[in-house]
Every structure is written in C-alpha cells, then in structure tokens.
C-alpha cells in the first residue's frame, strides 16, 4: 500500500484507511509483545523451585529481549529493501510491456 494511493480519496475514506492501518499496527505490537515474552520465557526460565526470577534469569530475559529487537530491526531494513527491489522489477516489466505494445 503506497501512501500516494490515498491522495484522490474523499476525506471520509482517507480517515477510514488511516484508522484501519493504526488499528493493525496496534494489534501487531501487542501480538509481538506476547510472542516476545513467550520466546524469552521459554529460552531463559527452566527452574521452578522459587517463585521469583533469579538474577541469571533476569539477565537472560533482558539480553533476549534486546537481541530480538535488534534482530527484528535488521530484518525490517532487509525486508523493505527486498520489497522495493521487487516493485522496481515489476515497474520495469510494465514499462517493457508498454514499449512493445507502442
């Protein structure tokens, strides 16, 4: 979805689109939060002889979280590049198609 696509729309539809996107981002953040807790708990906590995290477990959870966020940021950059590459390729194909036709 290109932001430019929203240009021609009446105000009401633009609002609807924006709030749909907001809602989806909010939902995705909350899901990511839950998945991250699940993952770091799974990898870091294995002993249930006490009811509080010990300092090793706390440190592990902190590092796990930090690492996941850095990893996630890096994948995000690569993902954007791969998407951009795919769109550029598609536009070139359309152009070549038009030149053949013209």
């Amino acid at each position: 979805m290109n932001p430019a696509d929203l240009e021609g729309l009446p105000e009401e539809d633009k609002q609807k689109m924006v709030s749909m996107i907001d809602n989806m981002q909010m939902k995705d953040s909350l899901r990511m939060y839950n998945r991250l807790v699940e993952k770091c708990f799974k990898d870091c906590v294995d002993s249930f002889r006490r009811k509080n995290l010990d300092s090793n477990e706390e440190r592990c959870v902190t590092k796990c979280c930090e690492k996941f966020l850095k990893h996630s940021a890096r994948v995000s950059v690569r993902f954007a590049e791969l998407n951009a590459g795919a769109e550029a390729m598609m536009q070139q194909q359309v152009l070549q198609q038009q030149q053949k036709g013209g």
Binding site: Q15, S19, N23, M26, K27, L30, R31, Y33, N34, L36, V37, E38, C40, F41, K42, C44, V45, D46, F48, R49, R50, K51, N52, L53, E57, E58, V61, T62, C65, E66, L69
Partner: protein, 90 residues
C-alpha cells in the same frame, strides 16, 4: 490501559474507544493462553498416566505463572523504554 467508551465522546472517538477495548481484551486473552501453554510445557508430565495434577506439578504451575508474569513486566519495560527513545528525537 485504554479509556472505555463513554457518553461524552464524539462518534469517531467512541468507535476508536471500542476498537481499543477490543484490542486490550484480545491482548489479555492472548497473554493468558500463552501463559497456559508455556507453563503446561514447562511443568506437566506428558505421558498422561493421571488426569490429575500431582503436588509437584501444582506448585510448579504456581511458580511458573508468577515468573511468566515477571517476564511480562521486564519485556514491557524494555518495549516502553524503546518507544520513548524513538519519540524523543522529534
């Protein structure tokens, strides 16, 4: 926590408040389900000789739930801190 819908809101604000209330409930259901699945995996003997939880399993579940909740707190603080960092430069 989200502000629940109330009578002083404009229709657009009210629609937004309903959406937020729904997201928050989904988040809590999701958290409870993840806690249940995680503590089942950590504490239960899956040979299923018995349908009941034995003493060891019961106390494991209690501690597991407490620890899971603490992890939720740590991760939440880190995500919150990160969000603030992103917002400060503006």
């Amino acid at each position: 926590m989200a502000t629940p819908p109330n009578s002083n809101m404009s229709p657009a604000e009210k629609a937004k408040a309903f959406d937020m209330a729904q997201l928050e409930m989904e988040y809590r259901v999701d958290l409870y389900n993840a806690m249940t699945a995680s503590c089942f995996a950590k504490c239960m003997d899956t040979r299923y000789k018995e349908g009941d939880l034995n003493v060891g399993e019961n106390s494991c579940v209690d501690r597991c739930a407490a620890k899971y909740w603490q992890v939720t707190g740590i991760v939440g603080q880190m995500l919150g801190g990160m969000q603030q960092q992103q917002q400060q430069p503006r």
